[in-house]
């Protein structure tokens, strides 16, 4: 119960004393900015499953890049593009619903990554765990730079696409009439999504970045309605989850990336229950009146 009995030492002390704690915090907060800006649109447009699939779909690209000795980020982007291309292909040439085409490629790409890795028998170096879970305990300045660049790209992208995304999300036919080219806008959003996933595989990891893409924007959308407010509240929620997650990992020796992701999901449920309670009180009050 150190966070109540000795709040300064529990909440501030670790950041004050350790450079690596500040690095973890900064990388975490930059991830939160990126994922909140992009994740808000992912949640509002209902493409969470595609986001999840992309987070896993980059793995074969990373695996191949690792084996042939290319920068893993490039491999990840190529795999993301291939996956989006494959999903679009299925969508255009079959009557199947979107979640089916995403599901087929999701499992295909994940299996491909495992098959590729299983051929690497004489070496450990190709293990995928580090990309799935990241290593916020071992950040270097390049990792933080990469996170900062991703946050900047997300910020610029969201500003440029703001109107097109807004119209497209709430009225696709109006978007077409206004000449906003929904296909292009969707493509740009997916590109931003890929950037946020690839940028964070060194810090929180591909598996866990998904928690930050969905949970904080989803929680924010429960309490505020305007898109800019959802983004701002999502950043606040995500930051809180990051700070608590980092501190829990520090004080209780739990795996760092997973602690942060878990905190952001728990926060979502706290917000959900709070809004449920709030509604009940409102109903009760109106019944009394």
């Amino acid at each position: 119960m150190g966070f109540l009995t000795d709040p300064w030492e529990w909440w501030v002390g670790p950041f004050n004393d350790n450079g690596f704690m500040r690095d973890a915090l900064v990388a975490g907060l930059l991830t939160v900015v990126t994922t909140s800006l992009v994740g808000t649109w992912v949640v509002l447009r209902g493409i969470s499953f595609l986001g999840d699939a992309l987070a896993h779909g980059v793995l074969p690209g990373i695996a191949i890049a690792f084996i042939i000795g290319v920068d893993t980020s490039i491999g990840a982007f190529v795999a993301a593009a291939a996956m989006i291309g494959g999903i679009t292909l299925i969508r255009r040439h079959s009557p199947l619903p979107d979640d089916t085409s995403i599901g087929v490629l999701f499992v295909g790409f994940l299996a491909l990554a495992v098959v590729i890795m299983s051929t690497q028998r004489a070496s450990y170096t190709g293990d995928l765990n580090r990309f799935l879970f990241g290593s916020i305990t071992g950040l270097d300045s390049d990792d933080i730079k990469r996170q900062a660049i991703a946050a900047a790209i997300a910020l610029i992208g969201v500003i440029v696409l703001y109107r097109a995304l807004l119209v497209m999300t709430f009225d696709e036919s109006l978007a077409k009439m206004l000449g906003l080219r929904p296909g292009l806008t969707q493509g740009a959003l997916l590109a931003l999504l890929s950037v946020s996933i690839v940028a964070s595989f060194e810090s929180v990891g591909n598996l866990l970045v998904f928690a930050f893409l969905i949970a904080p924007p989803a929680a924010a959308s429960l309490v505020v309605k305007r898109v800019p407010m959802i983004m701002a509240v999502s950043i606040a929620f995500g930051s809180a989850a990051t700070i608590v997650g980092i501190l829990v990992s520090y004080h209780h020796r739990s795996a760092a990336g997973a602690s942060m992701a878990l905190c952001s999901v728990i926060l979502f449920f706290i917000v959900l229950f709070a809004t449920m309670a709030h509604k009940r009180v409102a109903v009760y009050r109106s019944a009394l009146a």
Partner: protein, 322 residues
């Protein structure tokens, strides 16, 4: 183009603050005064015990990162573990890519000024699966960079003896008296030589023709190399935790087990033994024996020290193959 929505201003400010946070804040280096006992961190409990012995259980304070029973390949560090590493003057790792999930963290700590040594560096290593029957199927392109070498060197006490000077030199660099360390190394070398002989005695009960090992993953290569065993095959013929076995290879292994009359299949505490059990069921009339290959046993048991632990494993192997 439309003016950027004003709501983005606070978000931009937030981002810039986060970046600024990274730039500020000074980091006090880990200070070590001469009269304090130096803090040393080992990645696994096995290297922790060996390092403590090189420091005669008291010349250095040795702490272990990967908990007992943890899998060194996939262990995920906490931020407290990072602090423990930062607080050390020396980190003893195994190397040869054993601690793959800790690699980034070890690199970052090393960049921060902590000395990190790989105990397995500079000793005679063998490629993964090299003591097996089918070793011509891979490792053909083995070169001198040792990146594809089997990291489980601690299964051979004579190779551990070869690592002692490396550890002792690193400890001497932290300010521990070299003369004292020499005595410790000599004592521990004697103990490990006695251990080696005792294992030979234990294994003498196993006939030459029965000296065949089937394991869960490639981990007993050095043991086989030292005590004249042959690794017939492993259930998961890859060190990667994402690798899986395939039916054709399992069937091939089952046939090999039948034709060579192997006495037991050895599973490991840190991995699921379900594939090994399935293999045993397929072959019939063969035991699955669980070894501890990666970490020491709980304190208070015979296997809490490296010496006791390796003896225990040797006994299990001898019993299984008699």
């Amino acid at each position: 183009m439309k003016r950027p929505p004003h709501f983005l201003r606070p978000i931009t400010a937030f981002t810039l603050t986060a970046v600024a946070l990274a730039a500020c804040g000074s980091d006090e280096a880990a200070t070590t005064s001469q009269d304090q006992i130096p803090k040393v961190v080992a990645t696994t409990s096995i290297w922790g015990d060996i390092t403590a012995n090189v420091a005669c259980d008291g010349l250095a304070e040795v702490e272990t990162i990967i908990p007992l029973g943890g899998d060194p390949h996939s262990f995920e560090a906490s931020l407290r573990d990072r602090e423990t590493m930062e607080g050390a003057v020396l980190i003893v790792a195994n190397g040869l890519s054993l601690e793959e999930s800790l690699a980034d963290t070890l690199d970052a700590v090393e960049a921060g000024g902590v000395v990190v040594i790989n105990a397995a560096d500079g000793i005679d290593t063998i490629p993964i699966g090299a003591s097996g029957i089918e070793n011509d199927s891979h490792d053909d392109d083995h070169d001198d960079d040792h990146s594809g070498d089997d990291p489980h060197v601690w299964l051979d006490p004579t190779r551990v003896i070869a690592t002692l000077p490396t550890i002792a030199n690193a400890l001497a660099e932290t300010g521990i008296d070299e003369g004292a360390l020499e005595v410790c190394v000599a004592d521990y070398t004697d103990k490990l030589q006695a251990l080696d002989e005792e294992i030979e005695t234990i294994l003498a009960t196993v006939d030459e023709t029965d000296r065949l090992l089937v394991t869960n993953h490639d981990s007993l290569g050095y043991f086989a190399d030292r005590y004249d065993f042959t690794v017939v095959g492993s259930v998961i013929p890859s060190p990667s935790t994402l690798a899986e076995t395939n039916p054709a290879e399992l069937e091939e292994l089952a046939e090999l087990i039948e034709s060579t009359q192997v006495g037991a299949i050895f599973a490991e505490t840190q991995h699921s033994s379900s594939d090994a059990q399935a293999l045993a069921a397929r072959v019939g009339d063969i035991e699955v024996i669980t070894l501890r290959t990666a970490t020491l046993d709980a304190s208070g048991t015979a296997g809490e020290t490296y010496v006791g632990w390796l003896l225990e494993n040797a006994r299990l192997i001898a019993e299984g193959l008699q």
